[in-house]
């Protein structure tokens, strides 16, 4: 009997993760069609990573009900006591709970979709995307749903999260710090400064999931600035490094439950920038932002979206 229940539970979370991942892709594509543009390939590559993090790996504060994003509170400063960040969407903070940081802020649309799929953000909230006076910004800022630090200047997210991880260690918190990163950020010097610092200070409460989709604004990374051998570089810098298929939810989840052992953990998740939305392949190698070339292309994506609704959704 016990084995039966365990097997059922195992099926249950996997179904949920797949359902959330599919929902992320569908929602981002739907939004992109409605707005004639969007970050679709990031949804394709990161859907399983974010879904597994939110559903299976991270221990976050419970969301009582999906939150509706509030209006932009103004910038932080001594004259703005009513200021807030988007951390509420990840639930109340507590010493034993984990924290989540989205480093590549251009993934904001994908994060918003993920928050909706896991019932942390109200679906209507996505209508606020990129609207004047809204916190649901195109490039997420710290007031945007699910975010709490400024990460839009790439390379700064990891350092800030490392500072927070250090503070949590000093306080004796048992919760971990999860950082979602993109591979392009590893071209930046600050990222490696942060990596060497977190290894030196033995911040083993940090888990970094990297969406290794091999793409950046200008095209394929190997043609813009090479970072390989990626895993060997990180290993040499003192990270506990793993390289897996980023669409394999069992592998993503298994590494999330490892015990800390003195080193920060990095999971390089190799992903496909067209995963689940195959027609995007025609954009090779420019995947960064999808803007339709005309009605014909838009119609083809609309037709594809229909198959996502009628297809093998769980």
């Amino acid at each position: 009997m016990k084995e039966r229940y365990a097997a059922d539970r195992d099926t249950l979370w996997k179904n949920e993760v797949r359902h959330v991942a599919e929902g992320i892709r569908r929602r981002v594509l739907e939004h992109t069609i409605a707005n004639n543009g969007g970050y679709v390939s990031q949804a394709c590559s990161a859907a399983e990573i974010l879904a597994t993090l939110y559903v299976k790996i991270m221990k976050l504060g419970k969301a009582e009900s999906p939150l509706m994003p509030k209006a932009f509170p103004g910038v932080p400063g001594p004259a703005n006591p009513g200021y807030f960040t988007g951390a509420d969407f990840n639930g109340p903070k507590s010493p034993e709970l984990d924290r989540f940081f989205l480093s590549p802020a251009q993934y904001a649309l994908v994060l918003y979709a993920a928050l909706i799929e896991v019932d942390r953000m109200h679906p209507e909230g996505l209508r606020e995307f990129n609207r004047d006076g809204s916190v649901v910004e195109m490039i997420g800022a710290e007031h945007s749903p699910g975010m709490e630090v400024m990460t839009g200047s790439l390379g700064q997210g990891i350092s800030q999260a490392a500072g927070i991880a250090m503070a949590r260690k000093l306080r004796g918190d048992t919760g971990r710090v999860f950082i979602f990163m993109s591979d392009g950020e590893f071209q930046s010097g600050q990222t490696w400064e942060a990596i060497q610092a977190m290894a030196f200070h033995k911040l083993d409460n940090i888990w970094i999931y990297v969406d290794v989709n091999g793409c950046q604004c200008d095209g394929r990374m190997e043609g813009v600035m090479n970072i390989e051998p990626f895993d060997k570089r990180l290993e040499a810098f003192g990270m506990r490094t793993f390289r897996i298929d980023g669409h394999n939810i069992e592998a993503l989840a298994a590494l999330g439950s490892l015990k800390p052992e003195g080193r920060p953990t990095v999971i390089l998740a190799d992903t496909n920038p067209c995963e689940g939305i195959g027609i995007l392949k025609s954009r090779e190698p420019k995947y960064h932002y999808l803007r339709f070339t005309g009605e014909e292309e838009k119609e083809s994506y609309k037709a594809f979206l229909q198959t996502m609704y009628s297809g093998n959704m769980i």
Binding site: V75, P76, G77, P78, E142, E148, V149, M150, G152, S153, G155, Q156, S159, Q160, A161, A162, G163, I164, A165, M166, A167, R168, L170, R171, G189, Q190, E193, A194, Q196, A197, F200, H201
Partner: protein, 335 residues
């Protein structure tokens, strides 16, 4: 004049003893920024971050978000030049209480252009939420900690190290937003900051013997800058105002006073002493102050131009000038 040595080293240890939330971050300049004693006294609150300032500044932002007070210590140039984006987005935007101690302001180092912070006030002043303080003597090095700690937001400090004169009485700490009135007069107003104040005090004593009535004010809070006493002094001044700073004349104290004169509609003559839109080079402090015209003789010459008189003052007259720690004229009750 009393000269005090390694003031910050001992003072920080004493000041931080009952403040467990104060953490010190170093970028491989631990002895050079006088935090070696802190490191040895409170090893659990000292973090070596290596020669990696961009990470250090963003990392400090993370610590501050969790309720700690990171005290960044390195040479000023490696704070504001190397990590400006990080300061702006990881610290200043979220208005976090990170204290940045920038050593070697202006030409206080023979390290040359790479080590001389000559435009730090100009660039840091442009950051919203940023407070900027500058120390002019040992008393200010001691008391800048309380002044900075009272600020709910980031603070950048032009810090002094090594042998430092004590110009201001120990009973008169640096006060946020308040200048010090060092002499009262109506012919001309001299507004000085940092290491220029000692030079100005020397010059003012000699000038007063020549019958020039000088209003001398010392500024330690460069941002926010809203001390009404300075505006009033400038408004009273017969021959306008001279600013004197260890910084380029663009964007620092001279520019701040220019903005105030314009905003207040004072319409008076302003003479800005400082680096005249130039980099400097590696040489001794005394040599560079003379070369770039920010020493006592340069101020005398500037005053002569302003009042249209020659006094024939020599280096020997200045050398004979003794400076005792002074009380601020603005608070005669403290005398």
């Amino acid at each position: 004049m009393e000269i005090v040595s390694r003031v910050h080293a001992r003072n920080l240890v004493e000041w931080a003893k009952d403040k467990p939330e104060v953490l010190v971050l170093s970028a491989d300049l631990t002895s050079s920024t006088e935090i070696d004693l802190f490191r040895d006294t409170y090893p659990d609150r000292f973090f070596s971050m290596g020669i990696a300032e961009q990470n250090m500044l963003s990392f400090a932002g993370g610590l501050a978000r969790e309720g700690y007070y990171p005290f960044i210590h390195t040479f000023a140039v490696f704070i504001y030049r190397r990590a400006y984006d990080q300061i702006s987005m990881s610290i200043s935007y979220p208005n976090l209480p990170v204290r940045m101690f920038g050593f070697l302001p202006g030409i206080t180092t023979p390290g040359g252009a790479t080590h001389q912070a000559i435009e730090d006030i100009a660039v840091m002043r442009a950051l919203p939420n940023m407070t900027i303080l500058e120390c002019g003597d040992a008393t200010e090095v001691e008391t800048v900690l309380d002044a900075a700690h009272s600020v709910n937001g980031p603070v950048y400090i032009r810090m002094l190290r090594g042998e430092i004169p004590r110009l201001f009485d120990r009973s008169e700490p640096m006060q946020l937003g308040r200048s010090r009135t060092l002499s009262i007069g109506s012919d001309i107003t001299v507004v000085s900051s940092g290491i220029c104040t000692e030079e100005a005090m020397r010059a003012v004593q000699v000038l007063e013997k020549q019958g020039v009535s000088v209003q001398h004010m010392h500024v330690s809070t460069l941002k926010p800058f809203d001390d009404p006493e300075i505006i009033e002094a400038i408004a009273r001044s017969k021959h306008g105002v001279i600013t004197m700073e260890n910084h380029t004349v663009i964007g620092g104290l001279g520019s701040i006073i220019a903005e105030k004169i314009a905003e207040e509609g004072l319409g008076c003559k302003l003479r800005r002493m400082g680096l005249k839109d130039t980099y400097a080079h590696g040489a001794s402090k005394g040599y560079l102050m003379r070369e770039y015209g920010i020493d006592a003789m340069a101020l005398i010459s500037e005053v002569e131009h302003a009042v249209g008189q020659r006094f024939g003052i020599t280096e020997a007259d200045l050398a004979a000038t003794y400076i005792a720690p002074v009380h601020s004229m603005a608070k005669p009750e403290a005398l």
